[in-house]
Amino acid sequence: MKGEMTAMYDVIIIGGGVSGTASARELSRYKVRACVLEKEEDVCCGTSKANSGIVHAGYDAEPGSLMAKLNVRGNEMMEQLSKDLDFPFQRIGSLVICRSREEMPGLQKLYDKGSANGVKNLKILNREEVLEMEPNITDNVYAALYAPTAGIVCPFSLNIALAENAYTNGIEFRFNTEVQNIRKINGEYEICTNRGTFRTKYVVNAAGVYADKFHNMVSEKKIHITARRGEYCLLDKSAGTHVNRTVFPLPAKYGKGVLVTPTVHGNLLVGPTAFDIENKEGTNTTREGLDEVISKAEQNVKNLPMRQVITSFAGLRAHEDGAEFIIGEPEDAKGFIDCAGIESPGLSSCPAIGEMVAGILQERLKLERKENFIAARKGILDPDKLTKEERAELIRREPAYGNIICRCEMITEGEILDAIRRPLGARSLDGIKRRTRAGMGRCQSGFCSPRTMEILARELQVSMSDITKSGGNSRLVTGMNKATL
């Protein structure tokens, strides 16, 4: 890759999470040479892949803050974006549960903040109204803040859709490319990676928990990001309607607390904890964390069927000391656009973050709009959404849609092939899983992983022993039988 030393870009975006790809997608409206550098083998591998999947209404953030503004704006944009880019989003509403009269001022404060932030249709419900709406809320409920504009989204689908659409509109993507150093030379930036050096006029720093590291390479106004771990349990679809809205406790010091929510795919999600850790790769779950998830969730929701847990996971929020989004140029580093401290409500805000970042770049680079910008993107076809006749016709045309690979989620070979063959297609088992849900069901890929590996090997023309779970050294098999005898 050394030969590419002189590659010169208008914009380099560090990080293929939702912030980076939302920025890339908005930027792709303009005539620009831009590239996303991602250290993992796929987009959506960091904070963006392990979170609550909530599109917050916007009553949590302090009025006047960037968080408040972008959350409310992002929430407004999400619905149209989900139609344009074909990812699942449902405006199911949320409830913040208050369990005693003493907590009422806290609930009122949230209501007031929401109103100040411009959140529409907020309402404080009494006990009976809450239980009428959600019979599985704890009997100790006193009142709740109801926000009908809150929603749920599939974070993988959102992230992947943004990336695919950006790519279709001309943004380059380089994977397995880890930024090691950034220097400013003659008003431009030189970015050294494990795969060669890149030069660019502008940098977008959307590096999640590592955004402080890159910011601090170019600016004397230091920032500091702590990885704040959140652990979750995901329950089987049989538990998916235990509640029909996102149920929060009253917010505490470390965030919005342990929520219980249906997911867009009909599972039930419980979590997260909030625990600050040193290790920015510390996405492990812990016994204490998982126990805390269960005990805290049970304070607000009764009869949680925790026997239906199908998996647990942890994600890291990028918490900056100032607890506010940092978007824009540091005074002493012109051309370096931070997109840092993007913790909750980062997912909700990402459409607005992209809009804001692209806006800054457009102004500085005097970018012209493309005439041929393609705003729409088609997701992977979900045969479940077809009528029986349409589905039969599809299978006649493409028999791979008649071959079920993942029995739990009923995912066909046709969908898996699409996931591999489309722009920025899947290269690993997790890549397939995030795009199609194959392996995400109750057996957790026990049945389908060997079959999916076979399809990947065939399509990518590599051997089965080269197939990985998630790139890098995550090989799934170590060789042939008896090879070590």
């Binding site: 199908i310 998996t311 647990s312 071959n403 009923m410 026990g446 990985t468």
Partner: protein, 421 residues
Amino acid sequence: MKNYDIVIIGGGPAGLAAAVSAKRNGIERILILEREKELGGILNQCIHNGFGLHTFNEELTGPEYAQRFIDEAEELKIEYKLNTMVMDISREKVVTAMNREEGLFEIRAKAVILAMGCRERSRGALNIPGYRPAGIYSAGTAQRLVNMEGLMPGREVVILGSGDIGLIMARRMTLEGAKVKAVAELMPYSGGLKRNIVQCLDDYRIPLKLSHTVVDIKGKERLEGVTLAEVDKTGKPIPGTEEEYSCDTLLLSVGLIPENELSRGMGVKISSVTSGPVVNESLETNIEGVFACGNVLHVHDLVDFVSEEAGTAGKNAAAYVKGELQTEGGQEIRLNPADGVRYTVPASINTARMGEDVTVRFRVEAVFKNCCISAYFDDERVIRKKRQIAAPGEMEEIRLTKEQFQKYPDLKMVTVKIEEE
């Protein structure tokens, strides 16, 4: 829409035996729907021997055992479709299925036999903390990779759970060149057959660590190691007992769950103990003409008993189609599992519908030494079987006969329990 007398969901050992039996009992139009590319089910990856001791009086491998039934089904010209996924079964017994050639299609059946088998419990169901790297497999997935694809999941292995597949895989991985460092079992006893502990662990000096579990998983990309700890009587890890094991593979053999999503979808009542349908003496579910057998009904240890049970289901489904099962009258007797007995299959017996006898199968909930298995007809003990040892890993059975019931014309309930000798 095509019509069949009996549609059998699943072409594994249960589905095959049920089909053969139904055909031998005079039913012509039988169809087996199988999602895999060949008949035989999980037996195809069970290349070890020990199958068929009860049925054929010889030791066969899994594929050999399956072949006996496949040959018989072929001889009897029983129809089957491979690579075919059943998507839905309606209460009216319309089966919606899908494959590459025919697309989505519907079949109407007079009777349905559920024989979908079971799946393995996953790591997620256990909520084991740690990272989520490559190298964590359920034992059956590893078995498929090794035995069907010739691929090794890893080189240094720890196994959690001493279910039979885990034990079998400890031996297989060793034979194929891996080092199996330990088998950890949460319970103070193994969940597998005694013969498998001897032949798969003891013979290869693989330590079985009872009352142990995995408390941490290390490695971000590929598994690097696990931490085992001893557990107390409630199953909670005891601090200070942690031991590190470096390994690149963790196999899980922590239980099997009957796959009843289709059954639930059609309204079949499921037992919370077995996770299988609640059935009567004919192995018929709460929906008339819908029968269940094999691991979808309750998880078995030995395929011989699956075949036997499925034969009964096939015979009864045949009787149903011929209109011979719908008998009025008779005594409705409830089977009541008590004192150390977790469940019984069947859950009830009708004396008019039953044949000469009914085999009642069940599992005990702990290890009992020098005990008796007793059956009480209401308050009177009628059966008392001495057992040196009864363990959850080995299915038990008693046989109840028509003759016995005739002596108790007012009988309401048979209680099956474990008693001290």
